[in-house]
Symmetry: C2
Subunit: 359 residues, 2 copies
């Protein structure tokens, strides 16, 4: 299926599923000005869910088509489409909470959910509270959509459990991400390990591992085998994806990412790039980096200087090497699972390759 055709089936279905899942069974008494705020929240759910590239849904659909050799009935393919959409809805839920935790004002070039809700209610505190609830509502909706979808798939066993395991892994990843902020800067190797580990749990979990695992379960494969295959392909692929995303923050452009260049540095985020730069820097450069990341905030000049150090120390080049090696590892696993060259095999390999634009 062409990318345009895929997006045409995914995009409107996500909105439809969110609307359906967020509707109340009874609406007794929800009236007046309070109903208006509830409408704002549901409408923000739809706004926040727009504009993604749907890489995760498309990977899940490609993995399902590959596993079923494109032979699934329309009913099952429709169930799989909804399951794929559920992953996207969960992503939106996670991003809404992520933006509150990071106090980010922008997401995909628009006001982040809690900021938009603060503006709508003229209150930062109420907007933030509504943002927490919007994230909760979207997380609930994502499981509801997955549960509904699983009942329309021939093999529904373990799908909801695997979906909830994905939730848990991302939540654990966010905990680890916050913990890394407390890590000292004097052990670059440990910092690099800790950052890659955050990528495993916070990103690879739902970006590449779960889409493949859920698709294989939906295709009726054995749960343990599905898990092993999903980890072999999805773990290195997801790490490569997040490394590439962090690299884009430094070498990319604002119009491409929807975020200002150097945003991670401005926030003082501990990344693999920082760890590699610390590892390869001269003592004077290392002091400069530690100073920059120990300061309470960083202005444009300092951000520019850190980007220059990431380049000159060789950290950017090492990230590119890391990405290439992880992509090789993932490709070997893909070849081990689907060596054929049927259209579904090639489409699955292409869906994987979309995660590593810089490789």
């Amino acid at each position: 299926m062409s990318v345009a055709a895929e997006m045409t089936s995914i995009e409107p279905r996500i909105a439809e599923l969110i609307r359906h899942s967020m509707a109340l069974r009874e609406t007794d008494g929800v009236a007046g000005p309070c109903a208006g705020v509830l409408r704002d929240v549901v409408s923000q759910a739809l706004t926040s869910s727009e504009g993604g590239k749907r890489l995760r849904a498309r990977l899940a659909l490609a993995a399902f088509d590959q596993a079923t050799h494109g032979d699934a009935s329309d009913e099952r393919r429709a169930g799989m489409l909804d399951l794929a959409c559920a992953i996207e809805v969960f992503q939106t839920a996670a991003l809404v909470h992520d933006d509150i935790i990071d106090e980010s004002d922008l997401r995909r070039g628009k006001p982040s959910a809690h900021r938009a809700l603060s503006q709508a209610t003229h209150s930062d505190a109420i907007g933030r509270g509504l943002g927490i609830m919007l994230g909760d509502l979207l997380a609930t909706a994502s499981v509801d959509i997955a549960d509904d979808a699983s009942r329309r798939l021939a093999s529904s066993d373990g799908i909801v459990a695997a979906f909830l395991n994905m939730h848990k892994e991302v939540e654990v990843g966010q905990v680890l991400d916050l913990a890394v902020e407390l890590a000292p800067l004097d052990d670059p190797a440990a910092l690099a390990d800790a950052s890659l580990n955050v990528f495993r749990w916070k990103t690879a979990s739902y970006t590449t591992i779960a889409p493949i695992e859920l698709a294989l379960l939906a295709a009726g494969h054995d749960p343990d085998e599905s898990r092993r295959t999903a980890l072999a392909i999805g773990r290195p692929l997801g790490l490569a994806f997040q490394l590439a995303d962090d690299l884009l923050d430094v070498v990319g452009s604002s119009s491409r990412t929807g975020k200002p260049v150097g945003g991670d540095i401005r926030e003082g985020k501990r990344t693999v790039l920082l760890a590699d730069a610390l590892d390869m820097a001269s003592p004077a450069e290392r002091d400069e980096l530690v100073d920059a990341f120990s300061a309470p905030s960083r202005g444009d000049d300092r951000v520019g200087r850190v980007i220059a150090l990431f380049e000159s120390t060789g950290a950017v080049a090492r990230s590119r090497e890391r990405i290439a090696a992880l992509w090789d590892e993932s490709r070997a696993a893909i070849a081990g699972t689907c060596a054929g060259d049927a259209p579904e095999d090639r489409a699955f390999a292409e869906a994987c390759a979309r995660f590593v634009p810089l490789a």
Copy 2:
């Protein structure tokens, strides 16, 4: 079953289920200081879940025993116990987020979860972020526990969907609760309606409606009939419960509630008590109340004066009348459903009565 025996089966099982559900399937790479923070979060999950009266779990078990005439197999009763525990785990999840939204420092007489995590990490921002994730992790765990439990019940259809519907209703209730804070104080009747409506969604949903509905579904009853019965008994019962809880904030003692007396007033919460007081106050008293609740904060003197006005205007008495009328409505529905006087019928009626200690 005696209360002590019930608590002996519920309390340790909740801790066991949380530990089991929050454990990772693979633990690759979770090591070092980051693992320590993750352990803090899991340990806080257990601490936050302690100390509840387990009214919801006990109501669910009593409803199940009534519906199955105490004849369920041990396997099914064990599944129902876990489903009942899942409701309690969800409550803890909701309270963790609630305390972040309300910026509450205390819960059940101990530091609230985000405060405890702020202390552990020496950072308010990280502690709050970890608190948001802890709420998410517990919400995920609650569905996971319910999903697991449903597979051990003879009739599992619709249990996960009903459980997720409960999540959604509470989240909508929290949105409405935040919206009420924006409501003007010049229309007491509308304010009373809006507050009662918050009780329907934020409290009755998971306190009394869902425990009964889930128990009836677990007992194999028809979904629509289960919903109707749960609403008929649980809706007025849950409203009465929350009215009684708000009343305790004014007429109760700190040692009983684990919170300082007048806490709702101090926070400026719009409640049915406030609405009734505004409705029955003299013009001068009304101005005084509006002034007090329009101020950015309220000290001890003002809190004491508002409590006195809640008494003198008759708002406290009207809340007692409201509670009595709602309890009558619930009792009529109970009598309509289980008019028998088998031990299970009486135990169910007693489990309901525990929600209205002031009636």
